[in-house]
Every structure is written in C-alpha cells, then in structure tokens.
C-alpha cells in the first residue's frame, strides 16, 4: 500500500474516532441535562400547584380561569399545557376535566424532561381537581405539592452524581467504541 493511502486511512480513523467519541459524549451531556431539567420542571410544577391553591383559597377562582392565569404567568415548560387545557375547559365541549387533563398530559408533556412516572402523577392531578369543597380542594393540592417536593428532594440529592455518571459514561462509552472499531 502506498504511503499516502496509509496516511489517508489513519486520518479517516482519527476523524471517525473523534466523531464517535464526540457523539457519545454529547449523548452523555444530553442525558445529564435532562436530569437537571427534570428537577427544575418538577419545581415549576410545584410552584404552579401552589399558585393554583392560592387562587382557589383566596379568590375561589374557577379552574378554567385559574389555569388560564397559570398559562399567562408561567414561563416554563408547562405554559403550553396550561394554555391548551384552559382553552379547552372554557369551550365546554362536553369532555370532562379529568379526560382533558389526562389526554393533554400525554400529548404535550411528552416533550418535557419528566419521566413516565412523573407524567402519570401529573395526569392523576386531573382526577383531584374540581371537588365540591374548598378545604378539600386545598388539601388535595397540598398533598400533591408535598409529594412533589419529596420527589424534588430525592431528585436533587442524586442530581449531581447522576449527571456526572451520565457524562462519564458518555465519554467512556465513546472511547470504548472507538477502541473497538479501530
């Protein structure tokens, strides 16, 4: 084989290796970012629940209105979800609240960093909303917020380690693949 060809092969291998390692590390970084994102989305949700509770407790605002307010003031990942749900509730299309809530959770929140268990928790919130007693409604929202804060505490405690693990796995996976392919 010509010397030039060998050089060319080596260059291709190096470029390939760099690409594989780069892609693998990027996946690791992306997964780490999703872990961080999940915690922050859980916090956003907790805040939204507290706001909803405040609206119900002090102003007895109806849910379509209270959720529309959440959509206006909320700038995070749930703004679209709240906007769609409140618009649909205000239409009185003949679909019950828990159906609308569940359906939109599955459709819209799929794009967030929440995992399947979190999304099921959000979907189940729809079953708790709209009860006949203000006190009961507040209590259920408080209970949900408490559960959420437990989840947030657990997520933030492990967040750093898991992010580090994801990044390290990404880089090391890339190295391993590169070695294997070479």
């Amino acid at each position: 084989m010509m010397r030039g060809d060998r050089r060319c092969m080596l260059a291709v291998k190096v470029i390939g290796g760099v690409l594989v390692m780069g892609a693998s590390s990027a996946i690791g970084w992306y997964e780490a970012e999703r872990i961080r994102q999940r915690t922050s989305e859980l916090r956003e949700l907790e805040q939204a629940l507290m706001m909803l509770k405040g609206d119900i407790r002090f102003a007895k605002t109806t849910l379509p209105e209270a959720i529309a307010r959440l959509a206006r003031y909320h700038e995070g990942s749930f703004a679209e979800f709240f906007r769609v749900v409140s618009a649909e509730l205000l239409e009185y299309s003949g679909v019950s609240l828990n159906e609308i809530w569940r359906q939109r959770t599955e459709e819209i929140l799929k794009g967030t960093a929440l995992n399947a268990k979190d999304r099921e928790f959000v979907a189940s919130l729809g079953d708790m909303l709209g009860v006949a007693d203000v006190q009961l409604q507040q209590n259920t929202l408080e209970l949900a917020a408490e559960r959420l804060s437990g989840e947030i505490a657990a997520a933030s405690e492990k967040e750093k380690d898991r992010m580090y693990l994801c990044r390290a796995l990404g880089v090391l996976g890339g190295v391993f693949l590169t070695v294997l392919l070479l």
Partner: protein, 317 residues
C-alpha cells in the same frame, strides 16, 4: 353566546344532542328536571313532557330517556364550571346560577357541620329553571307608578310563579335606562337569591339597565343599608320581602329618601294586610302602589293596580 348555548353546554354530549333536536323554541321551555335512573322531564309551555331517546318531546313514558349516574356527575361538573368548590356557598342554599341566568336547583345528601348545612354530596336531583327576560313587560304598568316626577313606593304581589321577579326586573331596567321623557335613575338592587340580575361570576346575565348597581347574594336588610351608604341610589329594588329585619330596613330606606320597589308572595290585598309586620306598612300607607299579578289569564298578567288607600287604578284581564 346565546342563552340557549349557555344552557346546552351544561349537559353531557348525548343529552345535549337530544335537547337540541327535541326543543323547538327555547323561549317556551321553563324547566328541565334530571333525576338519576329516572326520565328527563321538560316543562314546556306549562305542560310536562318526557324527553324521548329519539330526541323528541313525548307525553309517553315508554320511550323516555333515562339519566345515568355518570351523566348526572358530568352535568354537575359543567354546571360548576369544573370547579364546584367555587360554588360552595350557593350549594349550601341549594342552587347555582349559571351563565345565561338560568338557575340550577340541586338535591342530594346534605352534609351537616354543627347542625348547619355545610355542603351536599351524592347529588342525584337537578332542576334547571330557565331564565327568560321579558323586556317590555312593565310597559303597561309603569305609567301608573309615577306621581309627578317621582316614582311611587311600589309593592308587587302575586302567588309563586306568576312573574313577580320578571316584572320587577323590567321595571328596574326601564327606570334605570330612562326614556325620552324621563331621565334614568340610579337604581340599587339587593339580589339575595341572585334571581333579579342572575349574576354569574359577578356579571349580571339579565339587562337591568345602565344605572343599576347590584349587591349579589346579600341578605336584603343588610344589603339595603349597604347600598344607601355606599351607592346613593334613587330607587332600591328587592325581591320577596317578609322578615322583620326586611321591614325595618324598608322603613330606614324610605326614611333616607329612597324610593322602594319590592315584591312579596300573596294571593290578595287582604292577605297582605293580615301579615303581621307587612300589614303595618300597608295600614300606614307606606306603599303608594300595589300591583296584583295572577295567572288566570296567562302567566304574569297584571290583574289590578291599587293606590295607598286601596282604590283601584287599573283592572286588567
């Protein structure tokens, strides 16, 4: 959104479709009664009909549409705007006013707290009374209520369901708006049962005129005092007076220079004279006009108008 749409949107999709096809003229529909595991009843033009499964109004029970428990729950969810907690106080009274001014009466298992009604659950009976504002129904009456430039203290008397509130509503609207001959007056309304203005989330669903202030869901006696202090009305309007504190508040309001338009349940002038406290007001000639309504010649017919001495000014029929 029209009143028909406001009404239909409280029903589950199935019932919504049936009602749409069954009811030709929603202006003639007076009541819709839902009971779990029982037929849907419609009171239309003073007659009772069953809502049939094929979407017609039927006199026969065999083909009647039966309401399920789920449909009842769904209806209640829509009645409360998905937020029954926001209507907790109304539920204690046993009714909720919805958009369009329609009134939804509810019955079920009552939850007590210290002997007082706290809430209701397992609601299995719903009665929807449709609100119909009849603009212009006071046209024939109003000329009799003026004495010079001032409106007389007026009491509208009729048995239940004969159109007292409808007439009062139109008197309020016309006094408030005014016309080419008379300028509008500031009217204060104490709407204890949310029937006059039919406020939904603070917004009156009935047209009560441009110069009308409404104290919604407020006890009459307290409300009259509040209005006098806060809104300086020329006229105060209240529905269904009767309690001793109402009578005291009426005296106070009249003493403050307000004109008063009120309604009361009753079959005749004599019956009103015999009422313990209200009778005193009649004998003292506090009211200057009495409008008697009846249903012998159709709902809301003005049968007679009297002045303070009991002399008849108008005989209808």
């Amino acid at each position: 959104m029209s009143r028909r749409e406001d009404l239909l949107k409280i029903f589950p999709l199935g019932l919504r479709g049936l009602l749409k096809t069954a009811v030709e003229d929603f202006e003639e529909l007076q009541e819709i009664r839902l009971r779990v595991q029982a037929p849907v009843l419609l009171i239309y033009d003073n007659r009772e009909y069953f809502l049939s499964r094929s979407g017609r109004m039927d006199r026969k029970r065999d083909s009647a549409y039966i309401v399920s428990k789920e449909e009842m729950c769904e209806t209640l969810e829509y009645v409360g705007g998905y937020s029954l907690y926001a209507f907790e106080e109304e539920m204690k009274q046993g009714y909720i006013t919805i958009a369009g001014g329609h009134r939804v009466g509810i019955a079920g298992k009552v939850i007590l707290d210290g002997g007082r009604v706290r809430s209701m659950k397992n609601i299995s009976f719903i009665n929807i009374r449709l609100s119909h504002q009849k603009k212009g129904c006071a046209d024939r009456v109003l000329p009799y209520l003026w004495r010079g430039k001032s409106i007389c203290h007026t009491l509208i008397i009729s048995p239940p369901g004969c159109g007292k509130t409808t007439l009062l509503r139109d008197i309020i609207r016309q006094l408030s708006d005014g016309n080419a001959e008379r300028t509008g007056m500031q009217v204060g309304v104490v709407d204890e049962r949310s029937e006059i203005g039919a406020c939904y989330l603070g917004v009156p669903q009935n047209d009560l005129g441009i110069r009308t202030d409404i104290l919604d869901c407020c006890p009459k006696a307290e409300g009259m005092m509040m209005l006098i202090r806060s809104m300086a009305p020329d006229v105060i309007a209240v529905d269904e007076i009767g309690l001793s504190e109402d009578i005291a508040a009426i005296r106070y309001a009249i003493g403050c220079g307000c004109r008063l338009i009120a309604t009361v349940h009753g079959g005749s002038m004599d019956e009103i004279r015999q009422k313990p406290l209200l009778g005193d007001l009649v004998r003292q000639r506090t009211f200057e006009r009495y409008i008697m309504l009846g249903d012998a010649h159709g709902r809301g017919t003005v049968e007679e108008i009297y002045d303070e001495r009991g002399s008849s000014l108008y005989v209808g029929g």
